[in-house]
Assembly symmetry: C2
DNA sequence: CTGAAAGCGCTTACAG
DNA sequence: CTGAAAGCGCTTACAG
């Protein structure tokens, strides 16, 4: 079955290709009689316009691309739901590009960005320095890009973004731990080479400082954003000569690993060690014990980031590139208790 | 900064656009001297070919699309890794389309399929009946499609696929439960309206039958593939007048919900009730207790499905559309024990 | 309302 | 090795 083009339809309907095009794109400009003839020819041939040709001709694709670091990260479920809701309302389709930070090549992402395959881009990933370079090149081209969820390097501060106040949220988490009586509080952050969770670390440090609590050497460990990494980090924390009574994890994924490792060491949570997460992914309420964490309005972030992108696309450069801050909230469950006296 | 086209580069380099094109696509056909001139012009202008125009002209995009139901499903992490590995080896980019089953419209998926925006499609989702209709329309067009992971409706049996033997695997899981002494075994399956997990249910039923064990009314509950749904289903199972001593969940996501609900009811796992999952997602080894489950070679599935798709693209219709079966394995951890005597 | 025609940015035989 | 030219499938002023 050879691809049928607009010509074939025109021939069959006995009209010009211009008329066929009009029937599809602005039917009100066409006589009913003509429209019917054409529609008939369309069903007969099974014609459907070549999207590539359309996009090429129109100079727009009606497609927006969401770039995220990993499919399989439960946090993105709700963000995507929000993005999709907004996209539908605005008539866009969305497509997802996964770029493992360690896997992504300049060509890959550069190609997507530079070429006009997409009308706009939502970045749900904090980029490695390598990626950063690509992006700034791109931002020069003023392609519509909006950043969601994560703070990005300062060079990219001119990109609009929507996210929670990660510093304040982490501070609140730490303060909660402090308010429950903890003084020896350790932290597991993401990756040393990435900005991701950096603000959360900052918030933790700020809270400790403000409470005049020391952060001992070795209390801040790298969890690599993975369960395995967090388990390793937890082991180190547990073996610390001055072992923390509470561990603040920069995200729930790592908190899940931490929780497990503490228990595997024969310690009770929160009896011996309290554990706190961040994100409130769907698994947080079914861990054992259920995880106390910071909730992000993920779906709202998704919606807002999409609407923001639309504004950018429609109005060109936005004058106001202030980050849009959405509220987080402390979700108290059962993984935190006062330290043993 | 206006988009610069091939013309501008040609003008600057003092050559024809054909030569610029050749420099980019087959540099060996061009004098070194010319090539250098052109390359210079390219960097000076910051030119990069319009991918849309290229794809349109060439009639191929070098893009393959992966369709999956939810980006936040941890099972897909490894599958995508495999797909990506193979795609890189074959020179394809991959893009992901998320279609929540309840959200997807015929237009959405139909458009992607029919238009030439993509050279091929990998389906990682068992489609609802609605989706099925679209697909068979599509398969008539012989667009290259390969199905990964899940059995699909019989109408679509002509599509090539790669997956484990779900029936055999579920049977093995159930037999394991039986071998540990269980006779009252309940099951939580996915959704009544979907084929997803249907084979797993079949395997469970087959094993029970073979062992001459009855399946009481109410022992097979719908978990909707979600934690919340599984919790609800678990409650029903627990309240059953003849309560199962073991619950086989059709996937780990639901097993996590089940585990939590059993414990929330004050029962011990596996002391009072054994729980078994399916998939071996990364959280399975850190649940409490660690989950006994069926492991799928997710990354291998990803690789194979991609290679299979490539073959389809390259050779047109494949003569052999037998499903490709990959091995599963029983992963014994600690959520199953003999029933209380 | 409809058609003829130009043109989007590229690639690729075809000559030379 | 290089250029002139055709053409991919569509959309959209421009006439009529």
């Amino acid at each position: 079955m050879p691809e049928v083009s607009i010509k074939e339809v025109a021939r069959l309907a006995g009209v010009s290709i211009a008329t066929v095009s009009r029937c599809i794109n602005s039917p009100e400009k066409v006589t009913e009689r003509t429209r019917i003839k054409v529609e008939e020819a369309i069903v007969r041939t099974g014609y459907s316009p070549n999207t590539l040709a359309q996009s090429f001709r129109r100079g727009r694709t009606n497609l927006i691309m969401v770039v995220l670091p990993s499919v399989g990260d439960p946090f993105f479920t709700a963000v995507m739901r929000g993005i999709r809701t907004a996209a539908r309302a605005k008539g866009y389709s969305v497509v997802i590009e996964e770029t493992q930070l360690n896997t992504m090549t300049a060509d890959e992402i550069g190609a997507m960005l530079v070429s006009k395959q997409t009308d706009g881009i939502i970045l749900l990933a904090s980029m490695s320095p390598f990626g950063t370079e690509i992006l700034s090149a791109k931002s020069r081209r003023r392609l519509p890009i909006v950043v969601g969820c994560e703070t990005i390097s300062s060079e990219l501060a001119d990109l609009p973004s929507v996210h929670i106040d990660n510093v304040a949220a982490a501070k609140e988490a730490t303060n909660y731990l402090i308010s429950r009586g903890h003084e020896r509080i350790g932290m597991i952050y993401g990756q040393a080479t990435s900005l991701l969770t950096k603000d959360r670390e900052l918030g933790y440090r700020a809270a400790m400082k403000q409470a005049k609590l020391p952060i001992r050497k070795g209390w801040v460990a790298e969890g690599q954003l993975t369960i395995a990494g967090a388990r390793q980090a937890t082991r180190e924390l547990l073996n610390h000569s001055y072992c923390p009574t509470a561990i603040f994890c920069a995200n729930d994924e790592m908190a899940i690993g931490c929780l497990h490792e503490v228990k595997a060491a024969g310690l009770a949570v929160p009896g011996d060690v309290s554990v706190m997460g961040f994100d409130d992914i769907r698994y947080a309420e079914v861990t054992d014990p259920p995880l106390t964490t910071i909730g992000q309005p993920a779906e709202e972030i998704g919606e807002r980031v999409m609407y923001r992108l639309c504004r950018r696309i429609e109005e060109g450069q936005e004058s106001n590139n202030e980050p849009e801050i959405v509220p987080h909230k402390l979700v108290v469950r059962q993984s935190v208790a006062p330290p043993r006296a």
